[in-house]
């Protein structure tokens, strides 16, 4: 989001931001692993898949972008560098970050049971004597 050619200064000091991203990515993977060890079913698998994708994205892809090793993709037709490589890395980044958050969110949502309906609280079920239709 660099409209005016002003370098990003606030909140992204050049030297510390990649380190921050790497630390966050790795700790996200480790915490998700500890979280997933205690769960069962599909939620830990989804969660770990998302966390691994996000860990890869945050600790490898984004620092490479920050370091300038990968050219940034722009929709304008003229940009420098190997076009196919830049497009491939852009696709990889978009896929990793978005699907990673999606899988992590879905896993945690299944784990906390917000997607399943709560059990009905009727202590007395309806009486079974309903052979004739209720008029």
């Amino acid at each position: 989001m660099n409209y005016l050619g002003v370098p990003l200064i606030l909140g992204s000091i050049e030297a510390t931001r990649p380190v921050f991203l790497i630390v966050m990515g790795i700790s996200l993977m480790m915490i998700a692993w500890r979280f997933a060890k205690k769960a069962s079913g599909w939620s830990p698998r989804l969660m770990m898949a998302g966390a691994i994708l996000l860990g890869f994205g945050y600790s490898i892809l984004l620092p490479l972008y920050e370091a300038g090793k990968i050219g940034r993709y722009s929709s304008q037709p003229h940009f420098h560098g190997n076009e196919d490589l830049i497009l491939a890395f852009h696709a990889l980044k978009i896929f990793t970050m978005n699907v990673g958050w999606f899988l992590l969110g879905l896993g945690l949502a299944i784990h906390t049971k917000i997607l399943t309906a709560p059990p009905l609280k009727h202590s007395h079920p309806f009486p079974p004597s309903s052979h004739e239709p209720a008029a």
Partner: protein, 113 residues
């Protein structure tokens, strides 16, 4: 460039939707965790998720409404905010989610002991 690549990569429709959906689910799950376990971790995680959601929505939507007229109208301070706020929100959102997940995991471990 093939049509498929154009739709899904250049415009990023499906992927952006997946990311927003996942962050929304993450926020709901964080609120549910906070409600269920009465801990601080869930709250921090929910706040971080909201930060990330706001920043991501801004990043997605900004090309559609940030014209030169809007930039002129909001003045230099507003322009500085549009440049400075999204990285801050992204950073603090990530910190919030990681810290909240860690805090919640530790709270559960302490309770189980």
């Amino acid at each position: 460039m093939s049509l498929l690549l154009e739709v899904f990569i250049q415009n990023g429709l499906l992927m952006d939707a997946l990311g927003i959906l996942g962050l929304g689910l993450l926020g709901l799950a964080a609120i549910q965790l906070a409600k269920r376990d009465q801990g601080r971790g869930g709250h921090i995680m929910a706040i971080g998720t909201v930060f990330l959601l706001v920043a991501r929505l801004y990043v997605i939507l900004a090309p559609h409404f940030m014209t030169n007229d809007v930039l002129y109208a909001i003045g230099p301070v507003g322009i500085s905010l549009t440049i400075g706020l999204p990285p801050l929100l992204l950073s603090f959102g990530l910190i919030g989610i990681v810290w909240g997940l860690w805090g919640h995991e530790r709270e559960v471990a302490v309770k189980a002991r």
